[in-house]
């Protein structure tokens, strides 16, 4: 027993070690790119670090950037656990955000303690239904969810664009809804940072999804369907219901991500507010091995790279686009863990030879 526990620790250590080494290797590649293009890598990386973790505000802002990614990453991972590739989180995030903006703005006279949960609920429900459609189509007609979620991304963005311009637009030239009521705003608890209690909501979601997947019957069945739907069916599991449910829950998570942006960051639905949180969620989920703990770290990595890279481009002459390139390289290396393994093996061999 103790033996396996030790083994598990070692396994976790290894699992954690590879991404660290991979990130280092990627940054090394970044150094080369910067030297070739005539930038000072030391300054650049100092700025990168400063932007990501350099101060409490920087850390808070990094976590703020990561907050939607925890949720979109979870959304993608959850669907994956049921064998579904949800590329539609971006759309679900949009409809969820719009629902949050509307409920946050027009549902008056409620105390925050009621208004916030109701607003979140609205976002989750609307986005859940939105994601449930491709889930239902998959379960009922066996149509591929990848097509339908891609299509529904476009439909969602067109739809919210219509709503924000023609239905719920606040006066003025900006395509956005009115500011949501204070009772629906997520409390910001660090001065000069937009980090808000949405972070805790995301943490709770991470834990709940972990719990749901591994400690409850629902999770057992969803994973069973994901691994082998035929065997699941044979064991009396309702495959179709699980597919729809997995998509709905996935969509709800995406919707919550959108709600957090609206209720904690922008305070109204602004057209184009998402730089692609839903798509980033795909990488976050898979980089995190579809496991909540992994997602926790990969989302922070993405948040740190986004903010640090941006700081780098602001504070040094390194252009934004180069920062983006370095981000891509990091993702490459972290994904290609075999490369890190190769590196470790070489080291080990080298040591043995000594």
């Amino acid at each position: 027993m103790t033996n396996t526990r030790k083994g598990k620790c070692a396994k976790y250590f290894e699992v954690a070690l590879y991404p660290v080494i991979a990130t280092c290797l990627a940054l090394l590649v970044g150094v080369i790119i910067m030297l070739v293009t005539g930038h000072n890598p030391v300054d650049a990386y100092l700025a990168l670090f400063e932007g990501a973790f350099g101060s409490s505000v920087a850390i808070a802002e990094t976590l703020s950037r990561s907050t939607p990614l925890f949720l979109t990453g979870l959304a993608v991972a959850f669907a994956f656990k049921c064998g579904l590739f949800n590329i539609g989180v971006e759309g679900q995030l949009h409809v969820g955000a719009m629902a949050a903006a509307v409920v946050g703005c027009y549902l008056t006279g409620l105390p925050a303690i009621a208004h916030i949960p109701l607003t979140l609920l609205a976002a989750a429900v609307v986005a859940g239904i939105w994601a449930g459609v491709p889930g239902y189509l998959k379960a009922r007609f066996r149509t591929h969810e990848v097509i339908n979620t891609i299509m529904m991304n476009h439909i969602a963005i067109a739809l919210v664009s219509y709503l924000v311009v023609h239905v719920f637009r606040a006066p003025g030239v900006i395509p956005r809804t009115s500011t949501i009521l204070p009772s629906a705003q997520l409390y910001r608890f660090i001065e000069f940072s937009r980090l808000n209690i949405g972070l805790f909501m995301a943490m709770i979601a991470l834990y709940l999804i972990y719990y749901l997947l591994w400690k409850t019957n629902v999770g057992y069945e969803i994973r069973a369907v994901g691994h082998n739907d035929k065997a699941a069916e044979c064991a009396g599991i309702n495959v179709k219901r699980n597919i729809v449910m997995a998509m709905v829950i996935s969509g709800m998570l995406g919707g919550l991500a959108g709600a957090e942006r609206i209720m904690g960051l922008h305070l109204s639905f602004i057209q184009g507010f998402s730089p692609g949180y839903g798509f980033e969620g795909i990488a976050v989920a898979l980089l995190g091995r579809n496991h909540p703990l992994g997602i926790l770290f990969s989302a922070i990595l993405f948040g740190a790279l986004a903010n640090g890279g941006f700081r780098m481009s602001m504070a040094t002459a390194v252009p934004t686009d180069l920062a983006t390139v370095i981000q891509a390289v990091v993702v490459f290396f972290v994904a290609a863990e075999q490369l890190a393994k190769l590196f470790i093996k070489r080291r080990k061999k080298g040591r043995l030879a000594e």
Partner: protein, 335 residues
């Protein structure tokens, strides 16, 4: 391609230049060349949009040449980074922080409050703060003039408008254009399309081209756009089909001199330059500065004379005067 938009009024420039030299001298006397530091935060997408970001840069570059300033640019890549960017520049002690685009308004409200001693200027939106100058344009007035040109030039009585997205700012262009067409040619029909429902509407020239080709097939023989880089597709389609195109924001005549009838120029560059100058000259005014036809902030430019009769040109000049005089009030939302 960013051209130096040849200013409408050469004289004004000369005058300005003279003034600048004077100012510079004054300053030299006062202090030894401590350049004014200008920070600029572009809108999402950054430079290369052939629209306000590029125009703002032109103004900035001119200021760098003519005034004693140095500048830093930031492309925020996502809306959430706008606040970070503005904050960064303010914190670094820039004398003037210029923010481009209506999307920055929310962030600026917060940041300008946080840094009451920093001067800010925002393009295309109004932020009511004691340290913010809001520079807004009457795009509809300029669009009215090019609309009139289109209405006068069309033979088929069908003209086209292509917006990047269906959003209020773009709708201002559409409203003015439609009013201009209707004013001179009540029988003419304006066909309206939008490229997309997200930001790609401003950078999808291939789609812009197909949309325009359809408008042309439907009979349009003058097409106007407010679609950033997608508009390049419109011009390409017009070239291919031999109809007139109308450019936007800057003088786009050079892209296809034969085809581009005129352009609706929006002098973001002038606004930016002027804003910088007020800071250099220490006469910054935190209020709404409106740039309409009267202020030469918007207008019609290009080689209209090459393509149009004197009569047309005269009509347009007349309309321009009427707008300045307030005889014509151009609507800023489409019917």
């Amino acid at each position: 391609p960013k051209e130096d938009p040849e200013p409408v009024e050469e004289d004004a420039k000369v005058e300005e230049d003279a003034k600048v030299e004077e100012d510079a001298k004054v300053e030299e006397d006062a202090k030894v060349e401590e350049p004014i530091r200008i920070g600029i935060v572009y809108s999402v997408g950054g430079r290369g949009d052939l629209s306000f970001n590029d125009a703002a840069f032109v103004g900035l570059e001119r200021a760098a040449k003519e005034l004693n300033i140095e500048f830093t640019e930031i492309e925020p890549v996502e809306i959430a980074k706008m606040e970070t960017s503005q904050d960064f520049l303010a914190q670094e002690g820039y004398d003037l922080v210029i923010v481009v685009g209506f999307l920055q308004a929310d962030a600026l409200k917060v940041v300008s409050e946080r840094y009451p001693d920093t001067k800010f200027a925002i393009i295309d939106s109004v932020v009511d703060m004691p340290n913010v100058a809001s520079l807004v344009f009457k795009e509809h007035e300029g669009s009215f003039l090019v609309g009139a040109a289109a209405g006068l030039m069309t033979e088929s009585n069908i003209v086209g408008f292509m917006g990047g997205m269906d959003i209020p700012l773009i709708n201002k262009f559409q409203a003015g254009y439609e009013a201009g067409v209707a004013h001179v040619n009540p029988d003419a029909e304006v066909k309206v399309v939008h490229v997309a429902t997200d930001g790609s509407g401003f950078r999808d020239p291939a789609r812009g081209k197909e949309l325009t080709l359809i408008q042309i097939a439907d009979g349009a023989d003058v097409v106007y756009h407010a679609a950033g880089s997608s508009g390049l597709g419109l011009i390409e389609a017009a070239v291919e089909k031999g109809v007139f195109a109308i450019g936007v924001d800057a003088d786009q005549n050079h892209i296809a001199p034969e085809t581009v009838l005129a352009s609706m120029i929006k002098r973001v560059d002038v606004a930016v330059f002027e804003a910088i100058k007020t800071v250099v000259e220490d006469r910054f005014e935190a209020r709404v500065h409106v740039f309409g036809i009267a202020e030469d902030g918007v207008g019609i430019c290009g080689n209209l004379g090459e393509h149009a009769s004197d009569e047309v040109i005269a009509t347009i000049a007349d309309l321009k005067q009427k707008i300045i005089d307030g005889d014509i009030v151009v609507p800023d939302t489409p019917k």
